[in-house]
Symmetry: D2
Subunit: 164 residues, 4 copies
Amino acid sequence: MIAVISGEACGPEALELAENVGREIARRGATVVCGGRGGVMEAACRGAREVGGHTIGILPGRGPEDSNPNAYVEFPIYTGMGFARNVMVVLSGDAVIAIDGSYGTLSEIAYALIHDAPVIGVDTWDFNYRGFTGQDKIVRVTDASEAVSKAIELAEGRRATRAE
Amino acid sequence: MIAVISGEACGPEALELAENVGREIARRGATVVCGGRGGVMEAACRGAREVGGHTIGILPGRGPEDSNPNAYVEFPIYTGMGFARNVMVVLSGDAVIAIDGSYGTLSEIAYALIHDAPVIGVDTWDFNYRGFTGQDKIVRVTDASEAVSKAIELAEGRRATRAE
Amino acid sequence: MIAVISGEACGPEALELAENVGREIARRGATVVCGGRGGVMEAACRGAREVGGHTIGILPGRGPEDSNPNAYVEFPIYTGMGFARNVMVVLSGDAVIAIDGSYGTLSEIAYALIHDAPVIGVDTWDFNYRGFTGQDKIVRVTDASEAVSKAIELAEGRRATRAE
Amino acid sequence: MIAVISGEACGPEALELAENVGREIARRGATVVCGGRGGVMEAACRGAREVGGHTIGILPGRGPEDSNPNAYVEFPIYTGMGFARNVMVVLSGDAVIAIDGSYGTLSEIAYALIHDAPVIGVDTWDFNYRGFTGQDKIVRVTDASEAVSKAIELAEGRRATRAE
């Protein structure tokens, strides 16, 4: 499972990128797990579903009444935990692809780094504290295909380590 | 999605019942969502997978290192939230089937009643406070086929209401 | 810290009992931790504050806008996690006093039993599964003073064990 | 209540700063809420307790066995939710003071910005996405006294708005 982390509000480039990321994840036989809402999350789910892939949306609300999943979420998980659900999106991915720069995405990148999940960043936050930028842990790429290749490679490496 | 709530430790009857419940859920085209661990949860997942159904396990831990899913969980969701994940299992089901009587199951029945989720009880907790037994809200049945029929019926009614 | 678990809706007897429980907890130098809302929770907080005790309310919402604490909560903790906050109320008490019988209380008793927290029950749920009633783990009492004495005694025993 | 967010590992300057922040918060009659662990969190709690203030630690674990609070936490809240507890620290502060630059701190700053909590940053993360740096929302200061003055001022403004 590959987590796609991102915001709801975003420009057309991010949406196209996300759709390609979703499609590519599904083509390689992996499942998209994301926050289940609109924007980049919707685009990634749409891409995956178009080619027959599975999509899981981990939603902030208690049900469809207060937290409607996008139309391409196959399996909605309702947490009732608001933005604390962000950590679960990250934990449920064998690797994480971060697209765009909302604060939710920033919290998810931080959680991925805390939990040593591999992070691939495509057009997303830079951050810095006394020269500590996470660059040794974030793989920065520029296109969807590269993002997914790298994510799958790192996910497989991690699964092998975890299985030992 | 139908939530199957139950414990890990249980007798052979509960396991057989759970496997039948899982199989029946999958045959009717629904997905099993559960806590992802062993015992009844494993039996329900095995039943569903045997006939090609989907299974989601919402796990207490942060990853396979500290929270191994059973072998029949197709999509593991890691929450890192311990038993607080119980509420998510309940919220993610359109209806809930409760089997057996661990304390985790009791917490999940309570959450289902708080959130007005339909609950079908098969050989599970009785509870009572001044004559208030939840019996108006819990449908008690004795076999797997009846449990799933009732769950699907109530889930469909609920989805229709929610969509309005 | 003693957790007082209970519902919002309840009769005058439960309120009087809860106020006495809160007062007694404070008199013995302990702190009330509860769900922070109205009803029994408010009565317990009021009792404690009247005699100068501390009260902590662990609330379901994200802030006072969506989750107003009762007027006697000295320290409101906002979780944004809805009823999943119930487990935190239980975990934060060295012992748990359960008063009355809402479903939230039932979920909290279940969590206390899962986590081996001492539970004192005063006019609250009975439950039963194949003769398994938790009676070996729940101390049933009938008045506030007895409830608090027992809670403090069990809390001290537990703290001693935990410190080893 | 003022949230102090920070990491465990940090240099002597951050510790001294944090102790001064804690002391200053308490002197002004406010309560320190933090993650309850060591490092900067411990220093802030120590500062507050030295001058008779209250301190609340919102801990990741289920109890003292797996999540020991620092010695200056007056009221430990156990969540059992791991790093998802970070959002609660932020939600429970009327304003947030961020000190130092661990990834947990980064997640907390992100959560504060999501929830529109006032953030005062003292020697902490910079972040940037296409020129969006949160600078309009984060008040950067360089010493403890200024941090607390600003935090109290913003907290009071926020409380007034919330009460309307």
